[in-house]
Symmetry: C2
Subunit: 83 residues, 2 copies
């Protein structure tokens, strides 16, 4: 059994409206020293694979097919054997 940790984030060139909104909320709460807020997703999952290579291949395919939008997002992932 493998555990995958996947990070999906907007590409640097893409405006992050959510990040802009969070930044202005933080400013209104008095956290004036904050800038450049960027927000992404962190996914965790378990994979019943026979090898690390197979698990990594599955995660990559999932990212390409569904978890990340290649036009506007980047993804990175780590796979770890847990049993």
């Amino acid at each position: 059994m493998f555990k995958a940790e996947i990070f999906v984030s907007l590409k640097e060139s893409v405006l992050d409206p959510q990040g802009v909104a969070v930044k202005s909320s933080l400013h209104s709460l008095g956290f004036q020293k904050v800038s450049d807020v960027r927000i992404g997703k962190r996914l965790e999952m378990m994979l019943e694979c026979d090898s690390r290579e197979e698990a990594e291949k599955q995660v990559q395919a999932m990212c390409e097919k569904m978890l990340a939008n290649p036009t506007i997002e980047n993804y990175t992932f780590e796979v770890e054997r847990v049993s």
Copy 2:
């Protein structure tokens, strides 16, 4: 200048409907070996602070006040000097 990386995730005891939805979508795409999908947020921000301690205090206060819901979420963060 400091860069903060913040992870906000649902507590283990809390059902993750988004994770359940993603898992069933992945299964329908043929990724049957996936289980226990959990989804959280990853935030990045810059902080114009004078010391690491000040930056860490600011990030903790932001998490407690706004970025994480203490009832259902956990948060962790790392602060790194960038200039």
